[in-house]
Amino acid sequence: MTAFRTLSLAMLKGFVRDKVTLFFTFLFPLMFLVIFGLILRDVGADKTRIAVVGDGQVVSALRDSGVLELEQYDDVDAAVQKVKDGDLPAALIVRGQQLEVRFAQSDQVKSATVLGIVNGFVDKANVAATGQPPRFTFSAEKVEDASLKPIQFLTPGILSWGVAVSAVFGSALTLVSWRRKQVLRRIRLAPVSATSVLSSRLLVSTGVALVQGGIFVGIAMLPVFGLKLSGSWWLAIPLLLLGTISFFALGMLVGAFAKTEEAASAAANIVVLPMAFLSGTFFPVEQAPAWLQAVSKAFPLRHMNDGMLDVLVRGKGVEALAVPAAVLAGFALVVGFLASRVFKWEE
């Protein structure tokens, strides 16, 4: 027990005193979270701008509704020129009761949107002008759909990725450096079991993962980023621990093959980076082509992402953990077994 405790403490001290590791564990993923969080914050909030010449009832109704952004022009030619130049999708020209829309053909979706909106307002104005109550009415209500605000998928994705990176690198680099420096050999000559050495390193990794989780989620919840956690967020903790164990095992496998720290670091990158991109760390994997989604199912990180997303922000319960937990545990067992087979005490 004392050996386990002292070893854990020794490794924790080694971790905390290593500035490069600290950077890649905490600041580096955080940079991605901050940068993507800020860049993607306003995506989808952009309104269509059109040029307007003249004024009247319809124009003021449009302005009050705020569905379009209006750019006022005095001169018809200047407004049309803007459309010709491709700066604006359409120009609305008001001549008394007569409204005319000149639109760019290139962007049909936008033009159609503009035409539909303007048409709607003209119809409304016409109905109002008759003094009759409208025969048909409709009302609109917002529905929470499956598509999420960027920060809502970024946080679980980057958290899973950050945890995976530090677990893989942590175990691979420790293993290689200890083998090279003959620390492993020194440990083998002491009356301690390999299990207590391994479990103390794993304890440090899981502790680090929990701190990562706390920091990343805490920062994403700041008002600038606006992450909203679901009620079942705490289910992320067992998932985080399970993920750490899986990626720790992966690191042991990488470390068993690599001869030098540089090789281990390169190999870990080759394993982790493509997996991160294909598993939906930086964008929701639902947006990827179907074949890519199928491929991504092979990666444990994809399942960790899915689980994180479900329990952190989608508000799903413990049943959402079944598949990710099974995949991660299976992965940890298989890879851990392989790693123990190819493990070498010395070069």
């Binding site: 002292t6 403490l9 490794m11 001290k13 290593d18 050999r185 020194r186 083998r188 000559l189 009356p191």
Partner: protein
């Protein structure tokens, strides 16, 4: 030194790596409390021999008894009784000297206080809170020895503890090794410094190409050579002709500064020189283990 219960018994061990016979039939016994040196050039098989005794490698054939037990396969009962120093860099990352000792100590259930005391023995008490990578080569070497001793083992194995140290650091380390010896430990150590083995060891085994060429106390090995003693005095106190005429002188020659006299009877030669008042700048050089090595292998010793 009790002959009844040897600390280490090695009987005809062999180990090959492919074609290379790293250890080719080595046998020796180390008594309890003995300072035993294995010496020879790089690639002589010293380290492999040591690793087989420590239980890190299995010999192809032959037998090893360490404190009466077999070290292979990994013998957990034996491990607390042996201390092994590895390379000077075998440390945990980013830990201070004191923390290294405490961590290694904890592997053996040694209390942190006892572990920290080892710093005194190796003269690193003032470096307790320095990180390992900030220590000098000699200090790191002493720390790694302290780590090998932290659990108070009976037998200590040191693999080239003085390699790559400057002369001052080497001398400091000798004091440490002597202090360990005074604690009654059995020390088995390898070196490629012949002068050092001569000064420190009770007995040395001279190894080359996987075999032991000679095994005896250093003084016996040197005496057994029957090599001439060189007596050197300042040039000009005596002419070469006069020197050659002295009783017992085999040969005499001089260069710009020194007159060198070779003799197998240094006592009468020295008194004859004293009578003539010709002892200015006197130096006497007897044969060394280096000469023994040269004699045994027929080639110059290269560390």
């Amino acid at each position: 030194m009790t002959e009844e219960r040897p600390a280490v018994v090695v009987r005809d061990i062999r180990k090959s790596y492919g074609e290379l016979k790293a250890v080719d039939g080595v046998s020796f016994t180390v008594a309890e409390g003995e300072f035993f040196g294995i010496l020879g050039p790089n690639g002589a098989g010293k380290t492999t021999t040591l690793e087989i005794i420590e239980g890190l490698r299995e010999p192809d054939s032959g037998e090893v008894r360490l404190l009466g037990e077999s070290p292979w396969p990994r013998n957990v009962k034996l491990l607390p009784r042996i201390g092994v120093q590895l390379q000077a860099s075998s440390f945990f990352e980013k830990l201070t000297a004191k923390e290294q000792l405490q961590t290694f100590g904890s592997l053996y259930g040694v209390s942190p206080g006892t572990a920290a005391d080892m710093l005194e023995l190796v003269g690193l008490a003032d470096k307790a809170n320095e990180q390992e990578n900030k220590l000098s080569g000699g200090q790191r070497q002493r720390l790694s020895i302290a780590c090998a001793l932290v659990h108070d083992p009976d037998v200590v194995f040191l693999d080239e503890p003085t390699a790559a140290l400057d002369p001052q650091a080497r001398r400091n380390l000798w004091d440490v090794l002597r202090a360990i010896r005074e604690r009654g430990k059995t020390i088995v150590y390898t070196t490629h410094y012949l002068d050092e083995a001569e000064i420190l060891c009770d007995r040395v085994a001279i190894m080359d190409e996987g075999r032991i060429l000679a095994l005896d106390p250093p003084a016996v090995l040197v005496r057994g050579l029957d090599a001439p003693t060189h007596v050197m005095v300042q040039k000009g106190v005596l002419s070469v002709v006069d020197a050659s005429a002295l009783d017992g002188v085999e040969e005499a020659h001089e260069n710009e500064v020194t007159l060198t006299i070779s003799t197998r009877q240094p006592a009468p030669v020295l008194s004859a020189l004293a009578e003539r008042g010709a002892l200015d700048g006197l130096q006497v050089r007897t044969a060394t283990l280096e000469d023994v090595f040269l004699n045994l292998t027929g080639r110059e010793y290269r560390a």
